[in-house]
Symmetry: D2
Subunit: 369 residues, 4 copies
């Protein structure tokens, strides 16, 4: 056993030496790669060239006559090529904007005078769909009565799965939202569905919402990027976290840096909840980007009975805000009736989160527990 | 035991009688529901009234003083209300178009002179992205040489996840596609991303494609519905089969009945394939609708080594056609290089599907197995 | 319009009357159903009879000659039959144990002298695998030094995916675990894989763990149910919440009510984390059952950099405890090296959760941030 | 531009030279790695040493002072270490058995005199649960009447989700299965749930089945590996293809090479089918291993109306056999009633697959279409 261990030590010494030589060569290779990038840029030449890479791999694996077979050699050199690509990319972009640490000012992202990502959780509340002036009046009164609440939500353009269900009041809805919010001193967020209605929506709201179904809609993202209006970008219900960050980059790349991300649940096999709230996504987004992150509890859960503990969890995980659907009479709602909080439930939620005082009179009037 | 069985028989007789009474009452109730639908339509009144339903349920469950508790009573009456809603819906729409058996003429859906859904499997082939006139010329030559192949695909507008990757040649790509196809006597299909470029795309192609990322883009679906051009509607990788049918209904509802559905894999936990080809979706769509169904194998699998058996499976499950990505030099492709078949691989695929004769000269030149 | 509304009101009045008649008949039918259940029990006859139900449905739908078609009638009566089944079940089981509100005593479930579910969060910590006496000694010292920590975990029998990787020290591991814990005054939890080793494991540990891969192992669940030892039942990474509760019921039904549930992440399409921590499962389990719920953060996340915010979220959602993997030298661990906290990281985690004082000397020695 | 291209060519030449030097060093390093493996084996020393690897990476990344940062260097050397590990593994196992091309003899795997994987598709049919001698007699008569059918299935031990539902006839069921099959000249396959009942099950059946819930049950797999009886190993409904192959390796590693794999659908977000039949898994398994692959259509789909096209797809994808649940009176079945074919449906299925002649008399008696 002693002899074996001695042999082992000797062999390991040899490997260590080779490792050092490999390291030196790899760094030398890196210098050449950066030089190539500079030459290309100076000459206006194209970036990475897949054919050249394929050539390299083909040549190196053509006569694999050592212990490593062609596929092992291919894997190792692919790692080297990928790392080379990475340093070229860094040189070109100085990293993507979405990962930049200076992206969001200390004061957060401003929606009018409401700062998101500045340390105080922001609540956005309102009905799924804008249905009438009276309905919005009731909701706005409810929201405006609570000291910390300043952003009213409501859908004017609704991306419904079924073409025969209510599609939103559209232009009329925008008008109701804007006018009601103005009277109550609230800010607004509402969804934009398409580039053709972007200007109209942008003219009537303080913050644009890109819904989960539109997270991959690159044409819309680019068009929003050319505005300077704050955007709430929702994660697609089947989108990875990386894809969400890349969608944000579409907006940032065009110059609009007022982006707020929104986790709203992902589609999984579990059906006890409408979607599965991905709480680790909140923690991960907070780590990867300085953009604020809010959580839409109504769509994530699709049920109200566990909304309070999940809202607390979202804040504990680091969320910068929460979004709730609330409706004066959920049982009459034209969409998503089951998940919208009625006024009493909404007030209880705010009390549970420490954002409202214990209700007195309303409970007397028969509030639900 | 005998006594027990006698009691049992007697009790069951009583239940049978009650069942008959319930049945009669329920049918009587159905007549009233239909009468209400007629009155509403005549009076231009709104359809179903959720508040009225909530009232009914509230009243019936207010004093649940029998063996069934409030929630059981609620469930039973919800079933009755749902069935009532269904017969009202039927009366209103005479069923959705997408489920109609007369939707597609016997000759199938025509893309120029190519019939889809008329009994002969249709192959659509071409590169992921249109990159140059030369590239398309090579692909078109390859496709046109095979007797059964008539539809050339290629992306001019590319919905890429990363904003810094190739976004397509756009207008120039449309022009290359149309011009190349015309010279080779081929028909074309290409993706449209947004309502703002719909007219331009429609003017340059025989068939529009709605990509997986746009399946929920209701504004785009409606706009396409107002045209009469054939559409290839791809299933979102996160969409249920029912959602795909409802997206098709958006197009049909506007009057465009030239819709072809496309299964292209769904996102699951499995990573051996890029997506999971949902073969039962093919069988199910063929059963639920008369619209033709094709399968995009390149996106479903993301790898080429198992494409032939999966293509055979798709046809065996009833698919009306298949879509493949093919590129003269996949290793140089500007997008999706790994899943595109090179000319030899594509020819082998067609041979394997019985759509081309065994290649002679090309194998001599060193074709891959 | 006036006339229409009057007709409407009249028709609705008629429907209301029919609803009342239906309600009365349904309750009357419920009485008969309960009577049948009593007769069957008295006579030792079998419970629900699917053939009888099939007969009923067949007869009622045989001549569907009203506005409701056979399938609507079938749906309505299925709702009635289901509700009938429910009240029979209630009569038989007086509900399942897992849903009973009196299941857990006020003092919680006792693992030795450690109470789980009694208001104070319980931390379980230790390495993935028991590897040696020295390793466990180091971990036990670390754990025992923190005032709130009393339960040591460690795997002796390891259910590894690959048969050629470390399978655990088995009997020897059990012995090390028990002996080390005893010396440090700690309680233990360790996994049992199979009925054949259940007795041995039970003799060496204070709490049995059923791993995620064994949640559906009904034979093992039944055997554990016949013991009185506390069990930590982990949710399968592919199991719905309802399935987890039914697995718990397997144990409860045999008489062992010392069950603690554990959420440990589910398998989804997202790969940024090893699994997706289902935070709403915690809230939902706390609502549906009185059994305590703990969260295994190491397996849920598979990465350490977002563990603290997720741990906070778990507690905020109502978890009764947390489980962490910790190892003296994770980079040397024989399994799951990437997700195990080293001593400094573990101490930081406890500080972050308010369960330990700010470390002084250890940071001086070069702790990681 | 000319100058730039010249500079580019020169730089690329330099890179090519470095590539060659890297290649030579890497192969030299490979020789040392293999030598170390030999020394360790001779000395009975442990295999790969994670600490040593961690040391190497730490040292190489300690002073990353070139263009590649520490994390890029780490990635490249990880690729080298992984490849080194791979060639060591190859040296140790001469590859895993499951990937060996000589695993299955030309005559296939024999279940009695029935060969699976020998070119002719094998059908396994029978009820979900064995319920009585009469029921099995009827099924066996049906199966034995069809010339190509030789394997009878039926569950004696049932792994049910709910503890209060039928758990199988257990020993009595085994006896019924064996006795009925013997009289009809059929072979049998039935599920084994646990090591404690393995011997009893093995004594009564020709082929053991490991169910989807037990695919990760390593203790059971090892115990089965020590027998020589054929095994049908079902893929877990949330297991990757690689995990299925590793579970098979557990059995193979113990010496039992009579393993047949079974795809039975995976759990996804889609609910139109009970699970999602993963057809590409069939193609992939056929490519990766020489073990036969069969498809369980009843569990994959959970519905009968699309079973025939999916069965055709499974065979087209290369499946060596199919499994169906069939029951004399599915509406009376004690489990899985909805997905079991009644005798007429089963006969139609066999006709549709070309495995039976067109039924004459039975259709006259009122068969379902």
């Amino acid at each position: 056993m002693k002899d074996h261990e001695e042999s082992l030590a000797a062999l390991r010494g040899e490997i260590d030496e080779i490792n050092e030589q490999l390291l030196a060569l790899i760094q030398q290779r890196g210098e050449l790669v950066l030089e190539i990038a500079r030459v290309k840029q100076a000459g206006g030449l194209e970036g990475p060239d897949p054919e050249r890479e394929a050539d390299i791999l083909r040549r190196l694996t053509a006569h694999a006559d050592g212990p490593f077979g062609a596929s092992a050699i291919r894997d190792i050199f692919k790692a080297i090529l990928r790392a080379s690509l990475d340093i070229q990319e860094e040189a070109r972009h100085a990293l993507m904007r979405v990962y930049a640490s200076d992206l969001v000012p200390a004061g957060g992202i401003l929606v009018g005078d409401v700062a998101i990502g500045a340390g105080v959780p922001v609540i956005m509340a309102g009905p799924c769909s804008i249905e009438s002036r009276e309905q919005m009046e009731e909701v706005a009164t409810l929201v405006a009565a609570l000291p910390g609440l300043r952003i009213l939500r409501g859908g004017a353009y609704k991306p419904r799965t079924n073409p025969y269900t209510f599609q939103g009041l559209r232009e009329e809805g925008l008008d109701i939202l804007q006018e009601t919010a103005r009277r109550h001193g609230l800010r607004t967020v509402t969804e934009v569905l398409d580039t053709s209605t972007l200007d109209a929506v942008a003219a009537h709201t303080d913050m644009l919402q890109v819904g989960a179904r539109n997270m991959y809609n690159t044409e819309l993202l680019k068009a929003i990027g050319r505005l300077r209006k704050p955007v709430l970008l929702k994660r697609g219900f089947m989108a990875t976290i990386e894809e969400l960050l890349l969608s944000a980059e579409y907006i940032l790349a065009e110059g609009n840096e007022n982006v707020v991300l929104c986790e709203r649940g992902i589609r999984t096999f579990e059906r006890a909840t409408r979607n599965t709230l991905d709480i680790s996504a909140v923690a991960l987004l907070k780590k990867e980007t300085s953009l604020p992150v809010i959580v839409d509890l109504s769509h994530a859960l699709g049920r109200k009975d566990i909304m309070l503990p999940c809202a607390r969890a979202a804040l504990a995980a680091g969320a910068d805000g929460l979004m709730f659907e609330t409706h004066p009479r959920p049982e009459r709602a034209l969409s998503d009736g089951l998940q919208q909080l009625d006024p009493t439930e909404f007030h209880h939620m705010m009390v549970g989160l420490g954002l409202a005082a214990e209700p007195v009179s309303s409970t007397a009037q028969g509030a639900r527990p």
